[in-house]
């Protein structure tokens, strides 16, 4: 059964590291729903969060192929229960200042933020699990969404390392 799987990897930062990882996904036809890289608690290393679409066999292959890459130090397959996963969305809602009350209501309901506003647009910032982000986007739809930027998922295990 095809579904989203979240994988994290600790990688050594070298020339070409990201290229090498992405190349592996492309070459083996594994589709990436999201890919995130950033500094982590260890100098010279990055931690990546990747979401792949596919069945268990594909997930297994992906993990094995990632582990084979020399710059990859460790790979973790995060099951839903024992992980924390978040993404950040910036949403530009193009509505007149006079009509923003319902938008602010939604912002409050979701504990979102509005870091900026202009006469034409209200900028909404929201961090949450992917289904929450989807829910907010659906709720904002009637108020004319001008642009959406999402970071994709970052995730970490909550039990496995103990």
């Amino acid at each position: 059964m095809s579904q989203h799987h979240t994988i994290t990897a600790l990688v050594q930062n070298e020339a070409g590291t990201i290229n090498r990882l992405v190349s592996m996904f492309r070459r083996r036809g594994i589709s990436l729903a999201s890919f995130n890289a950033g500094d982590c608690e260890q100098d010279g290393y990055s931690r990546l969060t990747m979401v792949v679409d596919g069945d268990e066999t594909l997930l297994h292959q992906t993990v094995r192929q990632l582990e084979k890459l020399i710059d990859v130090v460790e790979v973790e397959d995060l099951s839903q229960e024992h992980s924390l996963s978040r993404e950040l969305a910036l949403i530009r809602v193009d509505c007149e200042e006079s009509q923003r009350t319902p938008v602010y209501n939604l912002v409050n309901e979701f504990y979102a933020k509005t870091p900026r506003s202009t006469p034409q647009s209200l900028f909404v910032e929201f961090a949450g699990a992917t289904p929450e982000v989807e829910r907010l986007l659906t709720a904002l739809e009637p108020y004319s969404i001008g642009e959406i930027v999402r970071t994709g998922v970052v995730a970490m295990g909550t039990e496995s390392n103990l």
Partner: protein
């Protein structure tokens, strides 16, 4: 303080490399200058960088060590690409060193700049762009280490010109360790125990033994296992040589053009032990119908191979030698007389067949095998002649067989044979090539002559891209599209290069030709003008059921009865 160029030479000496294969150019000038100070490292100047990569590959295969090739930036580096991909597909340890433009010019489309690191990411085990000379000793030590440990493979080190010139005191590391890279060790005992049980329970077991046996140096253990538990041994194309081909338990190669008895044995077996193979599609045919009656066990040191193409019920993941060292003493001695005699029966009924009265590629290869008793090193090119050599040349010893399996690279055979001869100058080395593939890299004849690389070339000239012609005959209704291929006058060509030449087109002359070719001290080109439209059998059409082996239609009637 010493220069980056000197560090490269120091690294070669530290790694015990006595021969490298390369071609100079602008950005590697500092290295070529330094090379003059290091007579202990022999440099073979090739005629095309692809040849350098294939020579390093052949050198690696016959020594079970690392081969080294060297090229300049841009076109020099890109000319290596086919050879690197070839080594990757066959897990051959190669270190490819390329020069690049000065580090400050990288990314500015400088003259002869090419992103060889980016280009070779999917075809190397790992690669480096070294922009700081202080990193160079560590990178080179690591490159050799990565190439030749774990699942072996090619590693490329790209070095900008200024890094060859820059100086450093940075020492070579005393130990190479890389976080997150572990060399697989002994497999868990539970996995070995499971296999012992499966062998004990089996009635019709087979072993399919591949290159992993060679890479891990386990040929003797394989033989012990087969004899102790009385299990027939089949080879993948690259595994040839890991088990003596004249051993009574040897069934030869299986798969698309494998021997019928070997392929049939797997289809009938109740236990299939894949040992150091990757169940490649040329071997399995349609995986859904592969070994339908068998429990499959997979021995591999690379966990990503397990379950990649077939679904084993048990696996042994780890160092193959350690696995066999633990398995062999514990296996119960057994006899499978009924099974082995059934398999022998198939062998007798569906033998490899050489029709008499014609001058065929098979006639030549059978004779070559008889002359050398299967003891020469043989490198093949790619095509029909490759399959016939795998079938008829009964390789006796490990590390004597060189063939491009995964990539199927035409043009590989002759330079690979040269690399092998450089590595083992006292051994007889034959390159078996077709007229198509030979014309891809024959410029290396000059290299062979200049350095006195004494390889014997068995050129099977059928006037066709034979393997493609065969598919057009069988699957495209005899419509030959661009497969008839002309050749130069090879006698004149050999003369021009100063290579000893023989042309043979009759069975009567075969003995004399082979005898003289073998006796001649120096490179020899033997052109065998063979039957043009000869087909390779048995055959399992690509991606179909291995149970439907197409037998040689020319098999004598009393044996060909079961032609399905």
């Amino acid at each position: 303080m010493r220069s980056g160029a000197r560090i490269v030479m120091e690294a070669l000496v530290r790694e015990g490399v006595d021969t490298i294969f390369g071609y100079p150019g602008g950005v590697v000038l500092p290295l070529y200058d330094e090379m003059l100070n290091w007579p202990q490292v022999k440099h073979i100047l090739v005629r095309h960088e692809q040849g350098a990569a294939h020579m390093a590959d052949g050198y690696a295969r016959v020594t079970n060590g690392v081969g080294v090739c060297l090229a300049t930036s841009g076109p020099g580096a890109t000319n290596l690409v086919t050879g690197i991909a070839n080594a990757m597909m066959d897990s051959i340890p190669l270190v490819a060193i390329t020069g690049n433009v000065n580090s400050w010019a990288i990314g500015k489309d400088a003259f002869q700049e090419t992103d060889i690191q980016g280009i070779t990411i999917p075809i190397t085990k790992h690669n480096y762009l070294v922009t700081n000379v202080d990193d160079l000793p560590g990178v080179l030590a690591e490159a050799f280490y990565l190439a030749n440990t774990g699942r072996k493979g090619p590693v490329l080190v790209d070095i900008p010109k200024d890094v060859f010139i820059a100086k450093t005191d940075a020492p070579f590391p005393t130990v190479v360790a890389r976080r997150g890279y572990t060399i697989p060790g002994a497999p868990p005992k539970s996995q070995i125990d499971e296999v012992i049980k499966l062998i004990a329970e089996s009635e019709r077991p087979v072993i399919i033994a591949g290159q992993g046996i060679l890479a891990s140096g386990s040929s003797d253990l394989l033989k012990e296992l087969a004899e102790k538990a009385h299990i027939p041994v089949i080879n993948s194309l690259l595994g040839l040589g890991n088990f003596p081909r004249t051993h009574e338990l040897s069934l030869g190669m299986m798969g698309m053009h494998g021997e019928a008895a070997a392929t049939m044995a797997v289809q009938e077996a109740d236990l299939v032990m894949g040992v150091g193979i990757r169940f490649d599609d040329r071997l399995t045919g349609d995986t859904k119908t592969f070994a339908p009656k068998a429990k499959i066990v997979h021995f591999d040191l690379d966990p990503s191979e397990v379950g990649k193409t077939v679904s084993p019920i048990a696996w042994v993941v780890g160092d193959l030698k350690l696995a066999l060292e633990s398995l062999v003493p514990q296996v119960e001695p057994k006899r499978h007389d009924a099974w082995v005699s059934q398999v022998k029966n198939w062998q007798a009924r569906y033998p490899l067949h050489v029709p008499e009265g014609k001058f065929l590629s098979r006639t030549v290869l059978r004779a070559l095998n008889e002359h050398t008793q299967g003891t020469a090193i043989v490198a093949t090119d790619v095509g029909q002649h490759q399959m016939w050599t795998a079938q008829f040349y009964k390789i006796q010893q490990p590390y004597n067989w060189i063939s491009s399996g995964g990539l199927g690279t035409m043009g590989f055979g002759f330079p690979a044979a040269m690399g092998a001869k450089c590595a083992r100058p006292d051994d007889e080395v034959w390159a078996v090539v077709g007229d198509g593939g030979f014309q891809m890299t024959l410029q290396e004849l000059q290299t062979a002559v200049e350095y006195g690389i004494n390889v014997k070339i068995c050129l099977l000239n059928n006037g066709y891209l034979g393997m493609v012609r065969q598919w057009q005959e069988l699957f495209y209704d005899n419509r030959y599209s661009h497969v008839a291929m002309g050749s130069p006058d090879y006698g004149k060509l050999a003369d021009a290069y100063g290579v000893r030449f023989f042309r043979c087109s009759r069975t009567e002359d075969l003995e004399e030709t082979l005898k003289e070719a073998r006796e001649h001290k120096g490179p020899v080109l033997c052109e065998f003008v063979v039957e043009m439209e000869e087909n390779v059998y048995p055959m399992v059409p690509a991606g179909t059921n291995n149970s439907n082996v197409i037998m040689d239609p020319e098999l004598p009637k009393q044996t060909a009865g079961a032609n399905k």
